[in-house]
Subunit: 218 residues, 2 copies
């Protein structure tokens, strides 16, 4: 059996993994809101279970088995987020916390039926792709808004954080997934960006722009 805590560790490793790089103990502790010592403990356990490959002092990677579990948790999390926003009409800034709990509910059948009920959604309310039952994730060509050039016209494809304040701020600015944004100006001084939403003009700080995933119009 795999516990909720173990699932959270695997999910964090997955999220922190870039390319073929190892994930450090410290980063994991940060991401999980725990201490490096606790991470060492759990990493040892998950390595023994062959869900993580651990090189002492060098970091961890997911094994095939570990990745499968991580993707399953991510899938469940994102499907529940769709349910909460679409079916129960909750706001996108409040669903993450609840999905953190729901993702640990154990029932294949439940998730299959939920998926069907929701109409097999491919993206969650934050624009993140939902892995299918085999762990396959839809790829899209995206760039950060911070990397866009002046004059570019792009659609908001996703946000890189679930931070509630951040999402509420976007709501306030009437910016949501799918919004069409035109880059009017990039301030050389602080890299903040002036944009047109069609209706009005807004400015995003460089920090905000690092959280916004953009794509070309279809």
């Amino acid at each position: 059996m795999i516990t909720a805590s173990e699932e959270n560790y695997l999910k964090s490793v997955f999220k922190l993994s870039e390319k073929d790089k190892s994930v450090s103990t410290n980063d994991l502790a940060q991401s999980l809101g725990t201490t490096p010592a606790s991470v060492s403990d759990m990493v040892k356990k998950l390595s023994e279970k062959k869900l993580l490959a651990h090189q002492p002092y060098k970091g961890v990677k997911l094994t095939q088995a570990g990745k499968k579990i991580a993707l399953d948790i991510v899938r469940k999390h994102r499907l529940w987020e769709v349910f909460l926003t679409q079916t129960l009409e909750m706001k996108w800034d409040s669903v993450h916390e609840i999905a953190e709990q729901l993702e640990h509910i154990q029932s294949q059948d439940l998730i299959r039926k939920l998926d069907a009920f929701l109409g097999y959604p491919r993206f969650d309310p934050h624009g993140d792709p939902i892995p299918d039952e085999n762990g396959k994730i839809e790829e899209r060509k995206t760039i950060l808004l911070g990397e866009a050039k002046k004059g570019a016209v792009l659609l908001l494809a996703g946000v890189l954080t679930d931070n509630s304040d951040f999402l509420q701020y976007l709501d306030q600015q009437q910016v949501r997934i799918g919004s069409r944004l035109t880059v009017l100006e990039i301030l050389p001084f602080d890299k903040s960006v002036s944009l047109s939403t069609g209706k009005k003009q807004i400015t995003f700080s460089a920090l905000v722009c690092q959280q916004l995933l953009m794509m070309e119009e279809v």
Copy 2:
């Protein structure tokens, strides 16, 4: 904070409580699938938290605070069961286990919105009443099928067990919540009961009859 385990204990005490009677350690252990020693441990903790009133060697009762929590868990459990059967179209014999997990999800807002989405149902798929937000439970005059007299015409109001085999058996017999049953004969020998469902004739053992909650036609 209250843990899932604590919630389960309170729920079990609630379910085993009859009138003003105390619930015994042994019965609790049985109901929770654990040992009397473990129950003693947890009873001590919940008594210290003022959720249970414990008289050593005499049993426990719920306090007001404990009852409130228990009713809240029952409410969540039954609302989720409605969701699983009605929205996701799962069978009534498979929802109990999943609802056992879902009942521990923490979010007032979620449950309120779920309740609204489901149309404020008053009974779950097994015919059990769903407490409202204040813990109020709808009362109905019901009797066990085992207590019905020959000639009685009654509606199936509920079942007293979530046992999957039992529910599948009822399904097979085409007996469900709301079914109208006429008592044709009661065998003196073993108290088994012959019934007419309108379409066909069936016989239920005394044990089965002790699990079926019946009410007068409205």
